[in-house]
């Protein structure tokens, strides 16, 4: 893991300052790749993809976390892992197939539009569902929502069942219970799940490539396009920026919540 994961990721910083040649790169020191990133439309696209990734995180949390709470709080111990396995099911089908499969669902004459038109809810197909930022957000939510359920499920291990009873005895309402009790205790897992969704929203090229329109470009797509254009230092600069973003987020998360607690329920 050190040799083939940590080292290659650390080396992206070194390779990003190499000189670009016609088909490859050569050792040297230049910040041209970073200039190329920060002083072009790429930065705007990167910041835009950050905004849409954050929206995806919020949507995934709103729809996914209550499921994790329900599984932990209301289901018998023996049934909990089996119900979580249900969320692994869609995740086990290739992401690329799932994303491609969204096209016939979201497009003009796709499943959603034809169903809504058959029901008489709309007269004209909704065109904003695909080849727009909305399409990318839909793709991100459907691809990554299971992760907030998994991490939320692990996080809820830190919230003993009797806490719900104590809250009930004191007449604490669901909102106060959620904000004052569940959220602080389950914070490490929620944070890890959110970082996962945020970083993958920034880095999975497939989603803007297949579901996004002209303006939908994220860091992963910039890196892939740079490799296709044989601009390896730029690809490495994008990778280094992504790694720096990830490390900063994980460091902040660890300082605030001690992220090793995520796996503590497992031993």
């Amino acid at each position: 893991m050190v040799l083939f994961f940590a080292l290659p990721m650390a080396m992206t910083v070194v390779f990003s300052v190499f000189e670009r040649t016609m088909f490859w790169m050569e050792p040297g020191f230049t910040l041209f790749a970073y200039e190329n990133f920060f002083f072009s439309a790429r930065l705007t696209n990167f910041l835009n993809s950050m905004k849409y990734s954050l929206i995806s995180v919020v949507i995934c949390f709103v729809f996914g976390f209550p499921i994790a709470v329900f599984i932990r709080k209301s289901l018998p111990q023996v049934a909990q892992h089996r119900v979580v396995l249900l969320f692994i099911l869609p995740f086990m089908v290739s992401e690329i197939i799932r994303v491609f499969a969204l096209r016939p669902v979201l497009q003009r004459n796709g499943l959603i539009n034809s169903t809504l038109m058959d029901l008489g809810i709309i007269d004209e197909p909704i065109t904003a569902l695909i080849y727009t930022h909305t399409g990318v957000v839909i793709g991100e939510v459907l691809s990554f929502l299971p992760f907030i359920v998994f991490s939320g499920f692990l996080a809820m291990e830190a919230v003993p069942k009797y806490i719900f009873e104590v809250c009930e005895d004191f007449g604490v309402g669901p909102w106060r219970r959620f904000v004052d009790v569940i959220l602080p205790l389950a914070a490490p897992g929620i944070f890890a799940g959110s970082v996962f969704i945020f970083v993958n929203g920034l880095g999975v090229a497939l989603l803007p490539n297949i579901l996004g329109g002209a303006g939908a470009v994220n860091a992963g797509l910039i890196a892939t396009q740079a490799i296709t254009a044989l601009d390896f230092p730029l690809a490495m600069a994008v990778s280094a920026i992504m790694m720096a973003t990830l490390m900063t987020l994980l460091w902040i998360g660890h300082r605030l919540f001690d992220l090793t607690k995520i796996l503590s329920p497992l031993g």
Binding site: A6, P8, E95, I97, L142, F164, V199, L206, G220, T260
Partner: protein, 294 residues
């Protein structure tokens, strides 16, 4: 008020949960539905056919790719699962868990395109370094060690699958009590026998689940494999290149549906096996707990 006090609230929550799972599965189910239509996507008339599935198996390119994919899946599984098992054992015993947690789970957080690009450039540079070293030693022995090939794709996939296997094995290990190993050692068993005869039977389900997960993940992986594979094709890379070049043809729908059917069948079997095993164990436990009437 708890859920059981209000059964309708409980049922409502179950309905919501199943609705979310169904929504997540909708694209896949819809693809399966289209794959059996003789007239393809968007047609007004639905005519059931298996024709598109027949076409897949007559495609030489696809069968070759399938062979490579299976080989890759076997090699990655054989390496990944024992490594994940050792990592889980090390993690359980470690006092400082921060480093193993970071190293083993970090690949989960790195997007596929970023990890794939970083490994691609790393391997290309490593290959140049090995060739240079070979030139200095006046030998061609080191020439193609890290040229993009089956080996580099395997390494990339091992890095990708280890966190999943690690977590799955760790979940089953959570139920194992280490005092049993200590007892076995106290009775004179060596380390291997204590593991093989006492611990492994209890974590076997997790190890086999990790194997299944690894095979499915390798089978489904596209980005890292396509960046690191070199000259051969896998099932998914063929499928995706066909989709990207000619769009979603009826054959593409059938191929996607086939991959999904296999993955769902494997996971479905695991869920079923887990349920049956839990049922058997609880029946045995109940039988043991019953008082003996004499």
């Amino acid at each position: 008020m708890n859920d059981y006090a209000n059964i309708w609230l409980h049922r409502l929550k179950w309905t919501y949960l199943l609705l979310v799972v169904l929504t997540l599965m909708t694209p896949v189910i819809y693809v399966m539905y289209i794959s059996f239509n003789a007239n393809g996507f968007g047609a007004n008339e639905y005519v059931f056919t298996m024709e598109w599935y027949g076409l897949i198996f007559s495609d030489e390119l696809l069968i070759g790719a399938l062979r490579w994919t299976l080989m890759l899946a076997v090699v990655v599984t054989v390496v990944t699962v024992p490594m994940a098992l050792l990592a889980a054992k090390y993690y359980k015993a470690a006092d400082n868990k921060l480093f193993p947690v970071f190293l083993l789970l970090a690949p989960l957080f790195v997007p596929p395109d970023i990890l794939g690009s970083a490994l691609l450039v790393f391997f290309k540079n490593l290959n140049f370094a090995f060739i240079w070293f070979g030139d200095q030693m006046r030998t061609s022995l080191f020439d193609s060690w890290f040229r993009l090939s089956f080996l580099t794709a395997t390494i990339g996939l091992i890095i990708y699958t280890i966190p999943y296997s690690f977590v799955v094995i760790l979940i089953t290990m959570g139920r194992y009590r280490p005092e049993q190993t200590e007892a076995a050692r106290a009775c004179g068993a060596n380390g291997w026998r204590a593991f093989w005869d006492i611990e492994f039977p209890q974590i076997r389900a997790g190890v086999f689940s990790a194997c299944s997960f690894t095979v499915i993940l390798v089978f489904n992986e596209y980005t890292r494999t396509s960046l690191l594979k070199g000259g051969f094709d896998t099932f998914t890379t063929v499928l995706i290149s066909q989709m990207l070049n000619t769009g979603m043809s009826e054959q593409s729908y059938a191929m996607s549906a086939l991959v999904s059917f296999i993955a769902i069948a494997v996971i479905g079997s695991i869920i079923l096996a887990t349920m049956l095993r839990a049922e058997t164990l609880s029946r045995v436990a109940r039988a043991k707990a019953e008082p003996v009437m004499s």
